[in-house]
């Protein structure tokens, strides 16, 4: 836990320590699109088997930051990253890291549900299959769907199209698809923003269930969601890390005035 205080608003740039071992460590990360910085000099750790939420107003760079964690930004033209992100001590952007292998271990759930236009079963089984999974796929599909709390709703229609599911079910299918790879880390980019409140609460319950086995990093617009679901919170504004700390502390006694204004809904 950090005990730093800042007289003024600004980036927390010194190293922040947490009680748990960290699985990812961001050090002075700056990400630019065509030379224009979207994330500036951000440093914070991500604790293993905990939920870390990244919050902040629209356009603050939180999605960009999340996508840097499994190198999905590689597909965007003209992106550059400075600083280091280390994953279990290894530089994520090092020469000997293959982004394809990396994404197998750091999964992602996107803002809009994006199931493949194939059957429910194929959606879950495809990832393991192309990565050379050798055990029976049926068991894995069932296990993943159970984990994503979707099994009971789809067990009789596994070979129907995934597009026949509702939005909330599709998003849980996308979570099952990511879980089928047994990733170390699950990145979630506003996974509930396209969903209704009931589907949202389904997914939040799911987060609690998954926490014991997975490390989750979630970007969210929803303050209540961050407060309810996460252990640690990082608050970004205009690409800068304003505050990072235990969620409880951030939402009750924030150290930065800006954080207080944001979490209480005075702006953003």
């Amino acid at each position: 836990m950090t005990s730093m205080t800042h007289p003024e608003q600004g980036s927390e740039s010194k190293h922040i320590s947490i009680a748990e071992p960290s699985i990812l460590d961001l050090q002075n990360v700056t990400i630019s699109y065509s030379g224009k910085a979207a994330v500036r000099n951000v440093s914070f750790p991500i604790a293993e088997h905990k939920i870390t939420s990244i919050i902040g107003p629209s356009g603050c760079g939180k999605s960009t930051l999340l996508r840097a964690l499994n190198r999905m930004n590689d597909f965007v033209d003209d992106v550059s990253l400075e600083g280091t992100i280390s994953y279990l001590g290894e530089n994520l952007y090092g020469k000997d890291i293959d982004p394809v292998t990396l994404r197998r271990r750091i999964g992602m759930v996107f803002q809009k549900p994006n199931p493949f236009p194939k059957s429910i079963y194929r959606n879950v089984s495809w990832g393991p299959q192309i990565n050379g999974y050798k055990q029976p796929l049926d068991d894995l599909v069932e296990h993943s769907l159970v984990q994503a709390a979707l099994w009971n709703e789809v067990k009789d229609r596994l070979h129907e199209s995934a597009l026949s599911l509702s939005g909330g079910q599709q998003q849980r299918l996308c979570i099952a698809r990511a879980l089928a790879m047994s990733p170390d880390i699950l990145l979630m980019d506003e996974p509930c923003s396209a969903l209704d409140p009931i589907s949202t609460s389904h997914i939040e319950d799911l987060l609690f269930e998954l926490k014991s086995q997975y490390t989750i990093v979630i970007v969210t617009h929803n303050m209540q969601q961050a407060a309810r679901a996460s252990d640690y919170t990082a608050f970004l504004e205009m690409g800068m890390l304003i505050e990072f700390g235990a969620t409880k502390q951030m939402f009750t006694v924030p150290r930065q005035k800006r954080t207080e204004e944001y979490v209480t809904g005075r702006f953003g």
Partner: protein, 295 residues
């Protein structure tokens, strides 16, 4: 400018004149659309009236002859079917692979822009020019002679740009979030393309392929250029054999003075259109099936 809330807005809406213009434009568009349909109908009617009485089993199963009543299109029909099959086998894999490479794999630099520009230009090159290329390269250069394979290769050159352009458009329109979903599971570009991008782009690619093949089976100039025969009294047994095709047979008959041969040409046109129609129907059926699967 006035500030009254109902009538005094600073707009002159002139709605009557605007609506009149819209009606005029609509009528004009409908007019030219129907003009095309009517002309096509007349053409079909003329061919039907002239040709239908010649259209029987004898016509389909006989070789050409100098006696109109003994004459038929057996060799031309088989030549056309051979050509379609060979062109499809040659041009589809090459064109789709090219489109996939340009759209998914190549870096979007100056060289790939140059290639793109050239492909668009190639699609507009007159077919006779491809005939000359075919004659120089395939017939003479590769010593393939006046064979089916020479014709098919020449035609493949002709239609590949069209398939490439259509396939690129189809691939481009596959939503990017499908690709991201695959990449996020640790898929390579190839796995993503093969399992998700190509199946989703398939209906669009098929449309392009059918349009291109339809163009190919109607083309006469390149085949005449590479020296496809006009009188063939045998069936080609393999791709290295000499051949004739429906458009050539039609061209040949039309250029004869006797009225009977002109009517035979009309009958052959009906057969050619029927082949086209069957191909298009098959494509629509396959596309419909694959779209059902994607839903």
């Amino acid at each position: 400018m006035q500030k009254s809330r109902v009538s005094g807005t600073p707009y002159i809406d002139n709605l009557v004149a605007r609506r009149r213009k819209a009606r005029l434009f609509r009528t004009l568009c409908a007019g030219v659309t129907w003009l095309g349909v009517v002309l096509l109908g007349l053409l079909l009617y003329q061919a039907g009236v002239d040709g239908i009485k010649w259209l029987d089993w004898q016509f389909l199963s006989s070789f050409p002859s100098r006696f109109p009543e003994k004459s038929g299109i057996k060799s031309a029909l088989f030549g056309t079917l051979w050509l379609i099959a060979l062109i499809a086998i040659i041009s589809i894999p090459i064109s789709v692979a090219t489109a996939l490479y340009l759209q998914e794999f190549s870096s979007k630099g100056r060289i790939s822009r140059l290639i793109e520009l050239n492909i668009s230009n190639l699609a507009g090159v007159p077919s006779i020019v491809y005939g000359i290329i075919g004659l120089a390269i395939f017939v003479r250069g590769f010593q393939l002679e006046r064979s089916l394979i020479s014709g098919a290769l020449t035609m493949s050159l002709l239609i590949s740009p069209v398939i490439i352009i259509a396939s690129r458009e189809a691939i481009k329109s596959v939503p990017v979030n499908i690709r991201h979903a695959a990449y996020a599971l640790g898929a390579t570009r190839w796995q993503t393309s093969w399992s998700h991008v190509l199946p989703a782009a398939f209906p669009g690619i098929l449309t392009g392929v059918i349009l291109a093949l339809s163009r190919a089976i109607g083309e006469t100039a390149p085949l005449i250029m590479i020296g496809a025969l006009t009188y063939v009294a045998f069936l080609p047994a393999g791709p290295m054999d000499a051949f004739t095709a429906l458009p050539i047979q039609i061209f040949n008959w039309v250029s004869r003075p006797q009225q009977e041969f002109h009517e035979l040409a009309a009958a052959a046109i009906i057969v050619l259109l029927a082949v086209l129609l069957v191909m298009n129907a098959a494509a629509i059926y396959i596309r419909h099936k694959s779209e059902q699967k994607l839903k």
